[in-house]
Symmetry: C2
Subunit: 430 residues, 2 copies
Amino acid sequence: MHYKFAALFFIMENIRTSIVTIGDELLIGQVIDTNSAWMAQELNKIGVWVHRRVAVGDVWDEIWQALDEESAMSDVILITGGLGPTSDDITKPLLCKYFAGAMVMHEETLAHVSYLFEHVFKRPMPLLDVNRKQAEVPDVATVLKNYVGTAPGMLFEKNGKIFISMPGVPHEMKGIMEKHVLPLLKQRFALPYIGHRTLLTVGIGESFLAERIKYFENSLPQDIKLAYLPNYGMVRLRLTAQGEKEATEKKLDETFAILKNEVKDVLAVDEDISFEILLGKLLKQKNKTVATAESCTGGYIAHLITSIAGSSDYFKGSVVSYANSIKENVLHVSNETLASVGAVSEETVKEMVKGVLNVIQTDYAVAVSGIMGPDGGSEEKPVGTVWMAAGNAQKTETKKMHFRFSRKRNIELTAINALYLLCMFIKNDS
Amino acid sequence: MHYKFAALFFIMENIRTSIVTIGDELLIGQVIDTNSAWMAQELNKIGVWVHRRVAVGDVWDEIWQALDEESAMSDVILITGGLGPTSDDITKPLLCKYFAGAMVMHEETLAHVSYLFEHVFKRPMPLLDVNRKQAEVPDVATVLKNYVGTAPGMLFEKNGKIFISMPGVPHEMKGIMEKHVLPLLKQRFALPYIGHRTLLTVGIGESFLAERIKYFENSLPQDIKLAYLPNYGMVRLRLTAQGEKEATEKKLDETFAILKNEVKDVLAVDEDISFEILLGKLLKQKNKTVATAESCTGGYIAHLITSIAGSSDYFKGSVVSYANSIKENVLHVSNETLASVGAVSEETVKEMVKGVLNVIQTDYAVAVSGIMGPDGGSEEKPVGTVWMAAGNAQKTETKKMHFRFSRKRNIELTAINALYLLCMFIKNDS
């Protein structure tokens, strides 16, 4: 499966990669696997495709079988999890046996574990046997130092295949990937360049979009792939190509320009960025500030905005007015409005924008009020009804929406759509 | 691998299950797979263990091979994804060929698709060919109606193995699982009862905890499994057993009582619930209300609290005081405090609690202020430094913490620890 092809000026290798995750917690659903997505993204950036991901429990035979199968299909097998200090973690002894090694104390790792316990974790107690065991490794492994944790990464080779074992704790895995695995793969293989172009459309369903760009899709060159990624009621379109960097980029740019033109009336963003990142870019360009007034989203919009590093440059604060008394007393929504048309109304979100602009003193603001469920709906205003408004001191734009999903998803959809309304308001504000 | 064992009064089957997820977006990391965790949890509740999870791309041979492999190992193969209307979705034609069927129009599904477009999606345009195609199914499939989407679920049987294909859109998959798959598995198999007991410890590392309960662990009956689930600097302990319901529950209760006693000084919660759920329980018991004053978490604590249905009974609102001017003008933190000891200080979070109790008028409040990174740290207050306070009108409890991770994780850790501080304050408040 490991094939090479030579072009005029470069040699390129397509290596097959599998990710094997180990741990009962993944199979009973106690933990959501976010590691694999991060690993795939980082691998992709250096030209490595993940072909398969397999999750197995802390079960000797299942892990063994997964290693057999994946190494029959892939060149690189990345393994996460099962390296903890407790007895349900069997990955290290298994790897030792799988690669016919013997367990030995790795003195450098032991010194590192001791250092961590003394200076970082600040545990007053002496090292336990289980802690010392963290520093043992099979003598057939190359140790990959885990700077932020006690379980080292380990590299094995067998029949020309590379196996790398890492802890499942996300920031420990990330450290080992960044410090060791990604540089190692770049050095070992002549990797192809993989390029993507992504845009986001709003207001058109996947099938209508597909119908619209059918001709474009059918006339795509064979080496450019188009994917539809629907989410939050919006559809992302992604073009992907691989090859020599400069030629790939050029081809993608040309094709992307055509695609953008095909969808120009429903195009929201021509980058693969979230609305909270777009918001930051727009506000920094204009040197303006923003605040949020949130009822039904309960602070989630503010959270999205502040999840971006550097957001304190343009985000000043938020009033989460869950109770109507806060809408009245802090945001100064009028009692008449609340009594006559209710909290979930166009008038209320308009007054919330005005109120929060005054209280927090920003250039722009966004406000939402709605019914997220599962209870609280009425015939007139069923669960999922949301009013949102974006505005500045001069004017306000409002929108009514209706979502039909779970509470969690209704909150997410409300936040994303409110950020979209806000971004478009700021973009069009001259 | 499909084995049965008979006990005196019941017959129990341990069925092996695999989850196969299909889609390039999962392999390039554009989407995090939350479906599998949900499916595993729901299956677990009815006594079905997931043994393997495999993710493959939208590639004919890879999907085919995954079906071959998983059906060689498992009795039930649950497949999600690849059923969309666009040309990168190849799962349905592949399944048609795999099970040697012929594609036919399923009239009931066609009527449902038409209904959805007209009345739910409210698309004015007539059905496109691709929409009609959504209603085609292999004639060898049993159709499982998808009430909230256009792609139907499909059930196939081959060599005694059950294959079920569902769309990858989370709420569509969930609908088909709840309406069809779970009832069907319960009806088809005599499933064992699976019971769990989970508790959460705070303030002790995984290895020290393991050392502490070594004797307990070694003397566990063979049919009870203990797992350590470290997360957010806390460690969950989970006991699992399966068998006949009543006996299993009794055995788990007895063992859990012993475990709770072993860890009583570090025990935070003896249920598998989050702090935001615990907070709701405590406040409802006491018939009290709460507010948050958030600087560095930017509304994330309020979001966690309001992610719980019914939280409007006890959560009134929040002031997200990202800029110091909001701390002063809205929360009335004194200018002297901010000028002398700064925003990240014990005094500031104490004044934030007092301020938000006044502004939002609640019984309890929690406040946080810190530096989440990647920038903004200093020698004296490095990135990751956080002060938090929980209190009521009479008294306030404070805590200083230091986190060493990414911005995202620092925010999460701050929020979780602040909720813990708040819960313990309320619990101990008489």
